[in-house]
Each structure stands twice: as structure tokens, then as C-alpha cells.
Symmetry: C2
Subunit: 357 residues, 2 copies
């Protein structure tokens, strides 16, 4: 598949662009999209780049009823040198295949998908915004399309890539966010779909997010679904704490997402010689650390916001003001390093960055 040229149908009616400083996350899309179709017994076929356009589905299509769908989220950055860079895109393709496996969906050819993505970016290059904090958000996703009501794996799928120029995920930028620790709802347990990037995990989170919104918190922090003691992750971020000089983050336990920003942060910290441990972290431990003045910093990590310092945590009616509600030194240093590598302004000792040519 890798050497095949992808047929391109050019969009003759270019979409109107939003000025970079007015970009809202995920509402505006580029001129083109990539699609490939899958049929059981035949494999992937009819890969093509076409004008961004609606998808047509039978009302009985599997995705609409039984939720067989996975997605990825990644970004392309345009630097002053005019080069567009992707950050560890092969990790996203690999994770997509892991998600597909959990959802009984077919595997994609990771190399071919990355190649298709590069061709799509090349075509829509003028859509990659340049201003600091902006990027091109990339959403590869796969949906089950078979017209059949019945709980079984679909026999047909579409793999699609759409792209959206975005400003910062949080309007506040790298200012600290307020996070509500969730006690009623559960995101996932081991044996469920928590490690997959699949729709159901997000659908189930909205109810808790509603409460958080109402109370003025930007996201919820999930606890484990069994004992409701241990920290899992934040709505769309993994989470780190700096306690008494040591950085800790919940271990990959079968119910949280294996975040690419998370694993990059761990590598960076190790590279810098900062102690970092993946293990169980309980809310009680965070509370103790806070009360003893040892909770130095807390931050979320994810593609959308890169690093989100946590300025306030609420747990069972108790408030913890982390680092006096200010961005911590380490959070800032990690943000600068990671966004610098992504933008090509800081040396990339890990070979994380992939240039689009």
C-alpha cells in the first residue's frame, strides 16, 4: 500500500479561513479530508483525498447504535522556518490500532496512514496557522458503517482524517485550571474500554463534566471505579503531581489512556534527571501532601493543551490551592521544552519531531 499514490479530488470552493487570533477549537475544518474504506474479506480500499464533505450513513449504520468507533488527536505546527512539524505521529497511529483491537475493529497500516496524513497536510498547508499557541489539530478516526441492527462487529468501516486550525485549547492559555475530583461517576475500570480512545468513554464523561462546568471547574479528575480512592486521569489529560521534589503520575493500570504527552513528559524528566515515578496515587496522599505543604505542583498533560497547570483541586468539598494557584516552575519548564521541540525552536534529543515535506 505504501508506494501507492493517493487519488486527490481538489476542492474548488475553498473554505473561508478564520483569522488566527479568532480560532475556536474544532469548529473550522480545512479544504480536504482523507478517506479509506474497509470491507471484510477485501481489506482497505478506495483510499482518497477529497473536498471536506458530509458523510452519508444508513440510519441502521453500526456506529450510530453500537458505537464502534475510535479516534486520535494530534497536531501539526508551523515554525518560523516555514517547516510543518508533527509530534510523534507514529505513536498516535500505534495507539489507534490498539484502540481498534479493543473495539474489534480492523487494523490500519500505520505507515500508510502517516503517509496519507502527510500528503493531506501538504495539500492543505496554507491552513496550518503560524501564531504562537496555534496549530493544526488532526483528527484521524474510524467508524463502523455496516447497515445492520445487531450487536456484532461491523463488516465495513471508514477511516477518515479531518484537520482543524486551532488556537489554544483553553482560552486561558497556560494559566492554571480548576479541577473537580469526581466522586459519583466513573470513567472506566480495568476490563472496560478506558485504555482505548473510543467514543463511549467521552459520552459517559459528559454528565460529570456538566456538574464541573456548573461549579466553575474546567474538567473533572476521575478516581478508580473500584475503591474510588486512586487517581486515574483528568477529562482529556493525564495528570502529574510534584510532591516533595518527586514527580508522580498514575501508572498505566488498564483503565487510563496511555497519553503521548504523558510518556514524553516522563522521558523529558528522566533526561533532566528529575525523579519521576509511575505508581498508584491516592487522593488521600495528595491531601496529606497538601496539608503538610509538600504538594509543590500539579498539572495535566495532553495534546490539546500540552501542559495544563492545576491551580485548584476540589475533593469532597475540600479545596486544595496548588502552588497558590500559580503556574509552577516545573510545569512552565516542561511546557516550554515540549512546545519548543514541537515548534522546532528547541533541540529534539529524542527524534520525536517528524517534518512534513
Amino acid at each position: 500500500m505504501n508506494s501507492l499514490k493517493i487519488p486527490i479530488t481538489v476542492n474548488e470552493n475553498k473554505n473561508e479561513k478564520t483569522p488566527s487570533n479568532q480560532l475556536v477549537f474544532g469548529t473550522k475544518f480545512t479544504d480536504h479530508m482523507f478517506i479509506a474504506d474497509y470491507t471484510e474479506g477485501q481489506g482497505w480500499h478506495d483510499h482518497r483525498i477529497v473536498p471536506y464533505q458530509p458523510i452519508t450513513l444508513d440510519p441502521s449504520a453500526s456506529i450510530l447504535h453500537y458505537g464502534q468507533t475510535v479516534f486520535e488527536g494530534m497536531k501539526a505546527y508551523l515554525s518560523e522556518d516555514g517547516i510543518v512539524r508533527l509530534f510523534r505521529p507514529e505513536e498516535n497511529m500505534k495507539r489507534m490500532n490498539n484502540s481498534c483491537d479493543r473495539l474489534s475493529m480492523p487494523q490500519i497500516d500505520e505507515e500508510f496512514a502517516l503517509d496519507a496524513l502527510k500528503q493531506l497536510i501538504e495539500l492543505d498547508k496554507e491552513w496550518v496557522p503560524a501564531e504562537p499557541g496555534t496549530s493544526l489539530y488532526i483528527r484521524p478516526f474510524m467508524i463502523a458503517t455496516e447497515a445492520h441492527l445487531g450487536v456484532s462487529a461491523s463488516k465495513t468501516y471508514s477511516f477518515i482524517i479531518i484537520m482543524s486550525p486551532v488556537g489554544s485549547y483553553y482560552k486561558e492559555g497556560i494559566h492554571p485550571v480548576k479541577i473537580l475530583v469526581e466522586n459519583e461517576y466513573v470513567r472506566a475500570v480495568a476490563g472496560g474500554t478506558g485504555t482505548a480512545k473510543t467514543a463511549g468513554n467521552y459520552a459517559s464523561s459528559l454528565k460529570a463534566q456538566e456538574v464541573a462546568d456548573r461549579e466553575g471547574y474546567s474538567q473533572v479528575l476521575w478516581l478508580d471505579g473500584i475503591e474510588r480512592k486512586y487517581i486515574e486521569e483528568v477529562g482529556s489529560m493525564n495528570v502529574f503531581f510534584k510532591i516533595d521534589g518527586e514527580v508522580v503520575t498514575p501508572a498505566l493500570n488498564g483503565s487510563i489512556l496511555d497519553g503521548i504527552t504523558r510518556k514524553s513528559i516522563i522521558s523529558l524528566l528522566k533526561h533532566w534527571g528529575v525523579p519521576v515515578t509511575e505508581r498508584k496515587v491516592s487522593m488521600e496522599e495528595i491531601r496529606e501532601a497538601y496539608l503538610n505543604g509538600k504538594l509543590d505542583e500539579a498539572f495535566g498533560t495532553g495534546t490539546a493543551a500540552v501542559i495544563s497547570p492545576i491551580g485548584e483541586l476540589r475533593w469532597k468539598g475540600e479545596l486544595f490551592y496548588v502552588n497558590n494557584g500559580e503556574t509552577g516552575e516545573l510545569s512552565q519548564k516542561l511546557y516550554d521544552a515540549l512546545t519548543g521541540i514541537q515548534k522546532g525552536t528547541v533541540e529534539d534529543p529524542f527524534g520525536w519531531v517528524v517534518e512534513v515535506k
Copy 2:
């Protein structure tokens, strides 16, 4: 809304009908469908009956990424008297609203939805098959349609009803099925979405179902996600056991579906004076009962198959042959009573049946 007439666009190209004895579950649909759209701030609007047709969605539509969708499953039966009957349809509409609440989706007007359904059935009445065991399967569902990548509740939705003439769900009819007790994967835990009829629950079940298929079992039986000890439900059925003369079924614990067949069975048993208890039921208890010769019967209950006697259970490599793999007396009696009420051939002491006129 209730008194409004629903605009109908007639399908001029009738779909071809499959002979009743060749019906496959959920692959063939009637000539028309019902749709209504919802817009935040405006509510439901543009309700209409139109020819069965594809749905068009933006590639960024919320349903495709974040899984905000709920559905229902119910049936219409045609009797020899020429009357089409629905079974407790108001219960489905009520449960749909409960599901919507869990998924942060708007409520439907239950009475109006039922009225719309009746008008749709009336229009496609010739599609309701008459042969024993056949029925018209009805699938109301709601999907989030907003074109926006971002984990938040959609601002727009569509509520759709499609209908499919069906034979028996299991090709075998009321013959006993083989069920595999699942030890690795988890369907839901309290605090999750297990009580809602939403796509993610089914997507997450496919992996386990794959294993069951491979091993020759028709569905899996889920255990609780916390201790992996207590029985929850079967793939798309609730489950009952007759142990030493007493009928038991797992209590509604916040992670299983509140099945309409389940609650009807409980009412029927009480009506008949058969002892029935809703409580925790462990696999260990089932094993004990089996080994002591006290596991009289086991059966699943659901709209699709009504009653599915369980002839064989496999748990951690151990096999339990329930009632020598034959349909139990009580299972058969419940099946006859319930399908009789649904078809209008047995008296309906509960007022469960709603005639479509």
C-alpha cells in the same frame, strides 16, 4: 406537540419485501422513517415522516467522536385478528429519557414519540409480518449531530425511528442457548453508563463476544466489574435462575439495564404466586446449586428473544448443564404467556398491550 399532525412524505419507491420465513434480524427496513431535530434554545422541531433514507452528518459530528447516542428496541406484533399490538411501549420511551439524562442529551416528549411511532406503523402496516415468531422490530434512537470537535454536550440532535421486519432473534428459536461467563472483560460498573441503552456499552462488549463466538457460545454473561463475583446480565438480556423452586434475578444495582421483559417476568411470576427475588446472585451460588442438583432452570429475558432458556453455562473452564440442556417448564410457560399477551391470544391482566389503530 401532541395534537400536531406529522407531515408525511410518501416513499414512491417501495422497498422490496423479504418472505417472512427468510427474515434476518435487522437488515431490511420498512419504507418510511420518523425524524425530529433538536436545537439548543429552540427544542424539538421539524418532526416528519419521510422515505427510509441515508443520514448525512458532518465528519466532525459529535456522535462520530464522542458517542452521544441512545437507543431503544421494541416490537410490534400482528395477530390473526389483523390488529397490530405494541408491548409496553411507554416503558421504552421512559427508559429512553433515562438514558438521555445519563448521556446529557435532551428529553423527548414520550407521548408525542409514541404517537409518532403509531403513525409510522400505521403507514408501514403492510411491513408487519404475521407468521408465528415474527414481528416488526422498532428502533427509536437519538444521535448528537453538532459539527464540533470538543468534549462537550452537542447543541443539536436528531431523534429517529426506523423499523425492521424480523424473524426470531436466535435462529434456534426457543431452544436453549450456551452462555460463556466472562472473566476478563467488564461491561459496566456503578457510576458508569450500564443502566443506559447507549452505544458505548455495546461497543465494549464485542471483544468478549468474539471469544464467545469462537468457542461456540451464543452470548456472554457479565460479572460485576469490582469483585468479578456477582452476576450482572447477558449480552442483550437480563438473566434469571430458578434455584430450589425460587426464582432469583440480579437486582437493579446501577450497572445493569432495567429490562422491560425482566420487569414483566417479575410481575407475571408474582401474579402466578411463584416466589421471585431481586438480589445479588454470585456465580459461586450458581455453582453450588448446580452441584447440589438445585439449579432447576436458567433463562435470559429481552425484547429480541423474549425468553432464552440457558442450556449450558461455562465459568472458568467448568461446565454447568442446566436442566440437561433442555428448555425448562417455567421458561416455556413464561415464553408462552408473554408471547401470547404480545400477540393478543392470551388475556393481558396488566394492561401491557397497546393497539395501533
